[in-house]
């Protein structure tokens, strides 16, 4: 706790920023899984974060998987080698991608050489993150219904020359063929800026 408070006063460091963004992805991905009904609502539990009540999944395997991704993201964010995170939702039956959440990350590489932390309060960043998460929740009012049983995939766009860690593999982008796109709010820690948007399959039926 003391370290956290110290961080509050001291401003944003590269490591702190990486943690904030990685944490956002953990809660953001969980919110998407809950709101879009990828997993049954009873498998989620409520926690307090960013001054909101958020839902996170309790299944141990899923939790483990997400934590692995988030931990790796934290490292890559610190190295400024990650550019984008995508949550691709596809139909289990035919693997068609129905919805695609894209989070673009802009990293200020000059922060790597700086020693002094940047001036921005935790509270200001929290307020911005809160707005994005609320928008994610509100998207259910216009996103098309996911009728078929769906699975999700997490894709990370990294620098080409980055060493691929064990257990990770290369993948395609999983674009949606004929899509509509909606831009959501962005937030910034002054070191990392995250732009969010969601693309969904345009309605087409026989």
């Amino acid at each position: 706790e003391a370290d956290k408070l110290g961080r509050d006063q001291q401003g944003i460091t590269l490591r702190g920023s990486a943690e904030i963004v990685a944490e956002f992805f953990f809660y953001g991905i969980n919110s998407i899984l809950y709101q879009r009904g990828i997993y049954p609502p009873e498998t989620f539990t409520r926690v307090q974060k960013y001054g909101l009540t958020l839902l996170i999944n309790t299944d141990p395997q899923l939790k483990n998987y997400l934590n692995n991704v988030v931990e790796q993201m934290k490292e890559w964010l610190y190295k400024c080698s990650v550019q984008r995170l995508v949550v691709a939702i596809s139909s289990i039956e035919n693997n068609e991608v129905l919805e695609r959440w894209q989070f673009d990350i802009e990293c200020d590489r000059t922060a790597k050489d700086e020693s002094a932390p940047r001036e921005k309060t935790q509270k200001a960043i929290q307020d911005e993150i809160r707005s994005v998460i609320r928008q994610i929740t509100a998207t259910v009012t216009f996103l098309p219904l996911l009728e078929a049983a769906c699975a999700f995939d997490l894709l990370i766009y990294t620098d080409k020359d980055l060493a691929v860690p064990e257990k990770w593999e290369e993948s395609g982008p999983q674009f949606i063929a004929n899509s509509e796109e909606v831009c959501l709010r962005s937030f910034t820690t002054t070191i990392h800026k995250v732009n969010s948007k969601v693309a969904y399959k345009k309605d087409s039926f026989p």
Binding site: Q35, G37, Y65, T137, A138, L154, Y157, W168, V182, R185
Partner: protein, 505 residues
């Protein structure tokens, strides 16, 4: 074949841009047909709140575009970057796309300058140099949802009318409304509070820029006011406890006070900077909630009416209710928060909420205090949430939560039966009566063909009026007291007064 028609219908309903195939004709179309010429003559027009000529059996046609999609786009303030992205053909990089599609046919060898060009184009298209990026995913993907799990939301949108419960109701609740009144031009905006019923039995209804009063005892209708500017509209109405004054909130940030007997405006209080969507009285204090998220307290007896500002919401305050004992003010906003405010300032001189509830995942407009248990509050969430929650505001605990499976617009308690009623939107536009504290469904009242927007209760507690986007007001006699029980209650009340009489002697 029928299933494709159904699917097509469902897709058609979810689509926002196309005209609706089987919708009932719009009011202006009906009027045009009636009068047979361009534009209806004033005499032939349907006046508001006259009993509408509707057959009860005609409610099977698909409803209008689900309000859930309509209102959010139409009424919420545009957030930066929050509006839907509509692609613009002129900004599409057709040449780039063509190049990418055909480059496979071109010879493989590329000059260095060409390579540079391609790289520049790639950066332009993707926002970064995609040649420099690779896409990774963690292997060992977790299990999918268990077999047989049907996406929760699908149940929500394909809900059919639930079969009648096997348990017999302990009382008879008529399934059709007592009366249906016309409410032409009523604004289909989830965030407004357009109806209120006074203790003198007057039902106030805001229809766009006018306010009408309907006398429930005589059936008489009075137009109380009309906004001066045609673009302005009434955004909230609220009766003072005695029923002689009506507070009116407007789209141009005014809070007006009207004397009903004289049909005159007494005050026009301006202190807000955006529309006033919610109002609540506590004796001589009128509280108003605005689109900015601010709540103002007005002391209507003094010239300097604006006596306090409560800043606890970052988006429109759509739910606002003082507790019956006047100790707490509950507010709900489009920021999904519920705040409980004390009636007095803290030591610093500022008002700060004693509780903030963040559990709702959608806008909270439905806010109602329990009349027989102090400190108990019911709240209901919008489309993204759909839950009804019961709170103890002193301890801050959520006593109960139930998934209502539909946008909740309003909640009212009934002390006659220890129940509460909630109003809903897509897909059934129904009113649901729940038993408290078991939270069991007593019954559902159907009839509205578009989402319910507001609920209000008669002074005798027997009737609930619902205003909906289908431009009707329906009066449901759902909490009528059993005449025997009524007599007992009246006897008890009169016994009390006689004791007081003796005391005075």
């Amino acid at each position: 074949m029928a299933q494709f028609v159904f699917e097509a219908d469902l897709h058609g309903l979810l689509k926002l841009d196309t005209p609706i195939p089987n919708a009932p004709p719009a009011r202006w179309q009906r009027k045009a047909k009636e009068s047979g010429g361009p534009g209806p003559s004033p005499a032939a027009g349907v006046s508001p709140m006259r009993p509408a000529n509707r057959s009860h059996s005609s409610s099977k046609t698909p409803s209008r575009t689900p309000g859930k999609s309509g209102s959010k786009i139409q009424s919420t303030p545009t957030k930066v970057g929050g509006d839907r992205y509509i692609p613009n053909r002129s900004t599409m990089q057709m040449e780039m796309a063509n190049f990418l599609l055909t480059k496979e046919n071109d010879p493989a060898e590329e000059s260095p300058t060409k390579k540079e060009q391609q790289k520049a184009w790639a950066v332009n298209l993707n926002g970064f140099d995609i040649e420099e990026a690779k896409i990774l995913r963690l292997s060992g993907k977790p299990q999918n949802a268990p077999e047989g799990y049907q996406n929760n939301l699908k149940v929500l949108y394909s809900q059919k009318t639930t079969p009648g419960s096997s348990r017999k109701n302990s009382r008879y609740i008529p399934s059709i409304p007592d009366r249906i009144l016309d409410a032409p031009e009523i604004r289909n905006d989830y965030y407004l509070n357009l109806i209120d019923w006074s203790s003198q039995n007057f039902l106030a209804v805001a229809l766009d820029s006018s306010v009408y009063l309907w006398n429930h005892s005589t059936g008489e209708i009075i137009q109380l006011l009309q906004m001066e500017h045609p673009d302005d509209y009434v955004s909230s109405v609220s009766w003072i406890k005695e029923g002689n004054y009506l507070a009116v909130g407007t789209s141009n940030a005014e809070v007006q006070l009207w004397d009903i007997q004289q049909q005159k405006r007494l005050r026009n209080m301006t202190s807000h900077s955006s529309r006033v969507g919610s109002l609540s009285w506590n004796s001589y204090i009128l509280s108003s909630g605005a689109r900015t998220g601010h709540i103002h307290h007005h002391d209507v007896r003094v010239a300097e009416h604006h006596v306090a500002t409560l800043a606890g919401h970052t988006q429109e305050v759509c739910g606002l209710k003082w507790s019956l004992d006047g100790r707490y003010l509950a507010s709900g906003g489009n920021d999904n928060l519920v705040n409980i405010w004390p009636c007095t300032q803290g030591d610093s001189g500022d008002f700060a909420p004693i509780q903030t509830f963040t559990q709702h995942q959608g806008a909270v407009k439905a806010v109602a205090w329990c009349p027989w248990q102090s400190n108990v509050l019911a709240t209901g969430g919008g489309t993204s949430d759909r839950h009804i929650r019961i709170w103890n505001v002193c301890s801050g605990t959520c006593l109960s939560a139930v998934d209502a499976r539909s946008q909740v617009c309003s909640i009212l308690w009934s002390s006659n039966y220890r129940e509460f009623i909630s109003g809903h939107g897509f897909a059934q536009n129904q009113l649901v009566i729940w038993k408290y504290p078991t939270m069991a469904k007593v019954t559902e009242l159907r009839g509205h063909t578009a989402r319910v927007l507001n609920l209000t209760m008669s002074p005798d507690g027997a009737t609930v009026a619902s205003a909906a986007a289908d431009e009707t007001l329906r009066l449901w006699r759902c909490f009528e007291m059993d005449p025997i029980k009524k007599k007992e209650k009246e006897k008890a009340n009169s016994a009390k007064s006689s004791i007081i009489h003796q005391g005075i002697r």
